[in-house]
């Protein structure tokens, strides 16, 4: 007979290993625990001692090859086995191994599980049919087949998802009659499916203590407190009901039951998901890494009153010539940025180590979240656009980006960018510069806030503007003046009138 030594998991949860070198050759005689092979796992180089004594019949894996845990490594012909037994020994050994392995795993699976009976029978039957080979390896089979990790991985497919609603709890200790908040549940909801949800009933320690004192099972209550917390009142009410009418269910309106809890954040997703990095994500990662590592960023912020801008915006929205166009705070911010760039040339520039270039035009990048990820399409020669033209350009660009139609050419050549974080409900942030640019402006959300006007606190539309700048050529002064200029225009859009 021939024993097969399968690759065990020598670390904790390793799945594969590379055979580095064999210490024995076919024909060698080995004793139990002789080192036969050196393998390399993700963690370490490990020498493997062989669990059998005998003659080496086959080195199943070549040096340099990587195999999965549970795959055969080496076959040993037992001492004293006579040659006739050797016919087809490799196949026999393999079969025997599987018999031993499956018997063990079946017993394990069956042990806690009434439904396992049939599987146990099936395995017993198969041991019988493989006859002598199974018997021959009964000793070694256990060693190769029953170890914690030495079984060849065999994953049985799921026939259905575990569902709390499928738990047959007919033999469980009876639940007390539903009461209080639970009353309605019994009527319109299969009760057993909610067991885990009930178990994780929320209650503070003092409430739990009270419940214990009053003999109330806290998991039977649907809490009336915040986020379903069981309150002192819930417990006391239940205690009184129990006293008044033991076992009787009072009819009270209930809150809907919590969804069944299956132990996952997202019930339908895998426990961990591996997402390949490619496309937009890959490009974004490369760009932000490069810029974050190589460009010293500086950020400034300013809170401004944009009420007048919002008035102009309301007026433009009524204007038929703007029909169908997006008239957002970003439109005014774009105009303001172009205006401020004219007064602060340092901002609209690019750094080239030995020199830097001031751009006398604005190719305005607008960062947009799309289904494919973050893209920054560019409005070329933005300084030439009228307000309406700019509104049309922004509208078009946003639609294209959202639908994934932005062409690579449309993303090239930006000189200055905007990231509009207001729609995310944010006020400020420190964005990373797009490649080749020296400034990116972040636009916050427009909010009603208390603001001091002429010594009185009044509600005004307020927004935070800020951004990041290439500190190599943009000093705090440059950035400050620029952002202040942008703010001035948004506070007083009349400045835009040339």
């Amino acid at each position: 007979m021939v024993d097969t030594f399968n690759l065990p998991d020598v670390g904790e949860g390793l799945t594969e290993a590379e055979v580095v070198s064999w210490r024995v050759a076919v024909g060698d005689t080995v004793a139990v625990n002789d080192i036969v092979v050196e393998i390399e796992t993700a963690k370490s180089l490990v020498e493997l001692p062989v669990p059998f004594a005998g003659e080496v019949r086959e080195l199943v894996v070549a040096e340099g090859e990587t195999i999965e845990v549970g795959s055969p490594l080496i076959r040993i012909r037992a001492e004293g086995a006579d040659d006739e037994d050797d016919a087809d020994d490799a196949e026999d050994a393999e079969e025997a191994e599987h018999d031993a392995g499956s018997t063990t795993s079946t017993a394990t699976a069956a042990s806690g599980d009434g439904a396992g009976e049939s599987r146990r029978d099936a395995a017993a039957g198969s041991s019988g049919t493989s006859g002598s080979s199974s018997g021959a390896s009964s000793d070694s089979g256990a060693l190769t087949g029953s170890g914690p990790k030495a079984d060849a991985p065999r994953r049985r497919p799921r026939t259905r998802h575990a569902d709390l609603g499928l738990v047959d709890d007919s033999d469980l200790p009876p639940m007390p009659a539903p009461a209080g908040g639970v009353a309605g549940v019994a009527a319109d909801q299969p009760r057993h499916g909610r067991d885990l949800a009930e178990m994780v009933a929320k209650a503070s320690p003092p409430v739990r203590a009270l419940a214990k004192r009053l003999g109330v099972a806290v998991w039977e209550l649907v809490g009336s407190g915040r986020e379903g917390q069981v309150t002192r009142d819930d417990v006391e009410r239940r205690a009184q009901q129990k006293k008044a009418a033991p076992g009787e269910a009072p009819a009270e309106p209930t809150t809907p039951p919590e969804p069944a809890f299956n132990g996952k954040l997202r019930p339908d997703a895998e426990r961990e998901e591996r997402i390949a990095v490619r496309g937009v994500r890959k490009a974004t990662a490369a760009n932000v890494t490069d810029m974050a590592q190589n460009v010293p960023h500086v950020s400034v912020f300013k809170e401004i009153d944009v009420s007048r801008t919002m008035e102009v915006r309301a007026a433009l929205r009524q204007d038929p010539s703007y029909e169908g166009l997006s008239v957002s705070p970003m439109l005014f911010a774009a105009k303001a940025i172009i205006w401020a760039a004219r007064r602060n040339p340092q901002i609209n520039s690019s750094w080239h180590e030995s020199h830097y270039v001031l751009k006398n035009y604005v190719n305005l990048g607008i960062a947009a979240a799309t289904p494919r990820g973050l893209v920054v399409p560019v409005i070329h020669e933005a300084q030439t656009f009228s307000t309406r033209g700019l509104a049309a350009a922004i509208t078009q660009l946003t639609v294209d980006a959202r639908e994934g139609r932005t062409t690579p050419a449309e993303m090239q050549g930006g000189t200055l960018s905007i990231t509009n974080i207001g729609p995310l409900g944010l006020d400020g942030g420190t964005p990373i510069l797009p490649p080749g640019q020296s400034a990116i402006v972040a636009l916050g959300q427009v909010r009603k806030k208390p603001w001091v006007v002429d010594g009185h606190v009044v509600p005004r539309d307020v927004m935070t503007i800020g951004g990041s700048f290439d500190h190599r050529l943009i000093d705090g002064e440059h950035a400050g003046r620029f952002i202040t200029d942008v703010g001035s225009v948004l506070e007083e859009p009349g400045l835009l009138i040339d």
């Binding site: 065990p8 998991d9 020598v10 670390g11 904790e12 963690k43 370490s44 180089l45 490990v46 493997l48 062989v50 669990p51 393999e94 079969e95 191994e97 599987h98 018999d99 392995g101 499956s102 795993s105 079946t106 017993a107 394990t108 699976a109 042990s111 806690g112 599980d113 049939s118 599987r119 099936a122 395995a123 198969s126 041991s127 049919t129 493989s130 256990a142 060693l143 029953s146 170890g147 914690p148 990790k149 030495a150 060849a152 065999r154 049985r156 497919p157 799921r158 026939t159 998802h161 575990a162 709390l164 499928l166 738990v167 709890d169 469980l172 200790p173 067991d195 885990l196 178990m199 998991w219």
Partner: protein, 370 residues
Amino acid sequence: MQPIQLLAPDGTLTEDETYSPYVDALDESTLRDLYRSMVVERRVDAEATSLQRQGQLSLWVQALGQEGAQAGTVTALRATDMIFPTYREHVMALHRGITPQQLVAQFRATAHSGWRPQDHRFNTYGVVLASQTLHATGWAMGIQRDAAAGVEAARDELVLACFGDGASSQGDVHESMVFASSYELPVLFFVQNNQWAISVPATTQARGPLADRAVGYGFEGVRVDGNDVLASYAVAARMAEQVRGGGPKLIESVTYRMGAHTTADDPTKYRTADEVEEWGAKDPVARYSTWLRGRGLIDDAFIDAVEAEAQDLASDLRRTIHELTPVTLEENFDTVYAEPHRQIEVEKAWLRDYEAGFAEDSAAGGKGGA
């Protein structure tokens, strides 16, 4: 502070005014048992390591190199003294009558623990670092209260709290020592400084001797050569005397982990072969064996007999290991509480249902290998 050493690596014994009397008081059979404890465990340890490499254990934690520290210390205790081990105190475990099979059950993941702590006055192995010191201190509080309530047996009982140099950096150890000191609890803190907390050297964790830390808590700390089984015995015996009915003490046993932290670790990545070789020359078994032979306490026949006994235990472990089958789903749930518990019943029902939700094992037909 030089560690207390009686037996040099070359097997020569030196006299020490304080500690030699403890060794002198040992009878010959105890001296031979110290040797047997170390050798037998070393063999079982090696077998368990091989079994892990062969897929029979999920993990194994070698005690190789620390046999002297453990054998000396456990021998100095009474059989009734409660021990709170980490997961490497195999010599102590075998000394307390735990079988190799019981010892490896947890590492085969077939049981949460292979033995009942009360049967051996030896707690379950605790993998959570330094938790042992808290448990031991709490246990000692119980002893103190028993003694106050007139339980005679509790009057001079002590508790051994095992931990390592890595765990010494945990807050738990600090808390334990503060409480043990404040309440004058009968805890003997026993830190085996095996020089490596996985890959972090002890010198990083403690710039001075760990034993010195005891002073800050207001009790005595002693440093002993853990590879000297006689000094380990003598120091533990002296400390134990004082801990009984008195306050806590700390022993820092300076030793060396010759193997990996666990079988999932590769020490060649963080320590040099020279260092391992240097400590190998200080082996606890070799020096003790030399001394015993020199004194005529053991001979070849005795050594062979111990080897044979060790080999038998190891072979027996190999032969019977597959009899260690996993606890069943039922057992896992049924042993959580002493009485039926609704929450546990619900969870059991859920898991049973989950387990039943798989297709029949396709390999059950025995053709899986084809």
